[in-house]
């Protein structure tokens, strides 16, 4: 399907969703419960130019990026090592299981006691995204086709080159998939963490503050900002992957 066609269908489906939302809002009839898309847009335009808003966007973006960077880096390394070494896997496996089993909310509440409020969202997001990235990286570590490894051994290619030029490139699609999942997760959890921890300069804090003031349209406007930010990050990520592909990964 051509790029234009895909964009067209995408936009159409967004339009349908927004339309349904509008109908829902009309049916409910109360802004304080379900504001209409137009109302939310107006709120968004109202808050967008303010320095508080821009600082909140910057803050959340920085946290999301931080969480993604740390979890994808740590996850890649840990997962790859676990994929290559049964010892490492055995050592890390209980850690992964525990983290995966613990509910996000519990982690956020615990983190509140240990960390300053600005770090809590990052910590919680890291805990969620790290196992996801590591699982993908682990699969990736095992993805190098055996015949290629054998070919390299026959040509007496040094081990380091084999690692860099066979194992890692073979793992790249898995890394990419894991990173994409980690990215989406990081955002969600960062914002959720911000709602609970309420640090300065955060979209989540904006959401919570508006909620406490019963300004429901504004809550939605903040949420819209968070969604747009996430969309931006995913788009940037897509470009990054494409660039990786052109560089022969």
């Amino acid at each position: 399907m051509s790029l234009r066609a895909r964009l067209g269908v995408g936009l159409l489906s967004v339009a349908v969703l927004v339309g349904l939302w509008h109908v829902g809002a009309l049916l409910v009839g109360k802004d304080i419960i379900l504001p209409s898309p137009l109302r939310v847009l107006r709120e968004f335009i109202a808050i967008a130019p303010s320095p508080d808003f821009r600082e909140a966007v910057a803050g959340t973006f920085a946290r999301g990026l931080e969480a993604f960077a740390i979890s994808s880096l740590a996850g890649s390394v840990a997962g790859f090592a676990a994929g290559r070494s049964a010892l490492v896997q055995a050592a890390l496996s209980p850690l992964f299981t525990t983290i995966r089993a613990t509910p996000v909310l519990a982690l956020i509440l615990l983190a509140l006691l240990w960390f300053p409020s600005g770090v809590v969202p990052v910590f919680a997001a890291f805990l969620m995204a790290f196992p996801v990235m590591a699982a993908s990286a682990m699969e990736g570590a095992r993805a190098a086709p055996k015949e290629l490894l054998e070919m390299a051994a026959l040509f007496k290619v040094p081990r380091r080159k084999i690692l860099l030029e066979i194992r890692i490139p073979a793992a790249f699609p898995f890394f990419a998939a894991g990173a994409r999942a980690a990215l989406g997760l990081s955002w969600k959890v960062v914002v959720a963490g911000e709602v609970l921890a309420q640090p300065h300069r955060a979209l989540g804090t904006g959401m919570q503050t508006s909620r406490m003031l019963l300004e429901t349209p504004r809550v939605f406007a903040w949420a819209l900002a968070a969604i747009l930010l996430c969309g931006l990050a995913e788009w940037l990520f897509g470009r990054l992957v494409k660039w990786g592909n052109t560089r022969g990964l």
Binding site: L148, E150, M151, F155, V157, K161, E165, G248
Partner: protein, 245 residues
């Protein structure tokens, strides 16, 4: 004869695969080992390459030998280019980059891959990939080139082109080559020397040199007919000999 293998025996578990195989060939000979599937041709190649120590018998002349390889399934790194794949294989060859590049570019030109040599292999057609595999194999400076059923996976028309290319590349870089195959026509067409192997427990059934120039090796030509018959006899002998119990 520079290279000799004497009385090679190899068993796996209780199964005797190679049962006293003798092979010899010269430093610039193209040896074709012809034998049915499962008779241990690949094992023999591994023993030649020094990768399998679990055999009994003698191996002479291979001490300082450098090896290069062509595989049945090309085994190229799909994300690397033709040039990249060749450089990868040359990692242990101790050449500096410009030396390596000169060699590679030469073979690229000869293979008709000019203009495609920097594209990732996954973007190339099947035939181009096989040619790229040959480029890599020849770019690696080697005393002995081992080809494990290298022409098997292509269709008939492309097979001829590939074999012609292989011979052409050999003109540039004449080393010892061992091709292992079960196709008698590959043997007749390519070999300087043919060794025919039996079924398991494998022994050498026949071995002879071919002095015919390659231009005279087409089917139907008188000179090749005699060799054809000799090969057929050897192969029929294999087919009619009682199966090992």
């Amino acid at each position: 004869m520079a290279y000799k293998l004497w009385d090679i025996r190899r068993s796996f578990g209780g199964l005797e695969v190679l049962s006293g195989v003798d092979i010899e060939f010269g430093p610039t000979q193209l040896l074709v080992i012809l034998g049915p599937s499962g008779c241990g041709k690949t094992t023999l190649l591994k023993i030649v390459a020094g990768l399998d120590g679990g055999f009994s018998g003698k191996r002479e002349g291979f001490d300082q030998s450098r090896f290069s390889f062509v595989f049945q399934e090309h085994r190229l790194l799909p994300w690397k280019s033709v040039v990249g794949n060749a450089l990868f294989a040359l990692s242990s060859a101790g050449m500096d980059k410009s030396q390596a590049m000169t060699r590679i570019e030469n073979f690229v030109r000869l293979s008709g891959l000019s203009g495609h040599e920097n594209r990732p292999v996954r973007e190339l057609s099947g035939g181009m990939r096989q040619r790229a595999a040959l480029v890599r194999a020849f770019a690696m400076p080697a005393d002995i080139l081992l080809l494990d059923e290298a022409f098997q996976s292509v269709d008939l028309k492309r097979k001829r082109e590939l074999m012609r290319l292989f011979l052409g590349l050999r003109e540039m870089e004449r080393n010892a080559s061992i091709l292992v195959t079960h196709d008698p026509w590959e043997a007749l067409w390519l070999a300087d020397r043919i060794v025919v192997l039996s079924d398991r427990p494998t022994r050498v059934v026949d071995a002879f040199d071919i002095d015919l120039p390659r231009g005279e090796r087409e089917a139907g030509m008188p000179a090749i007919a005699a060799l054809e018959m000799r090969l057929s006899a050897a192969l029929i002998g294999i087919e009619t000999s009682p199966p090992p119990c």
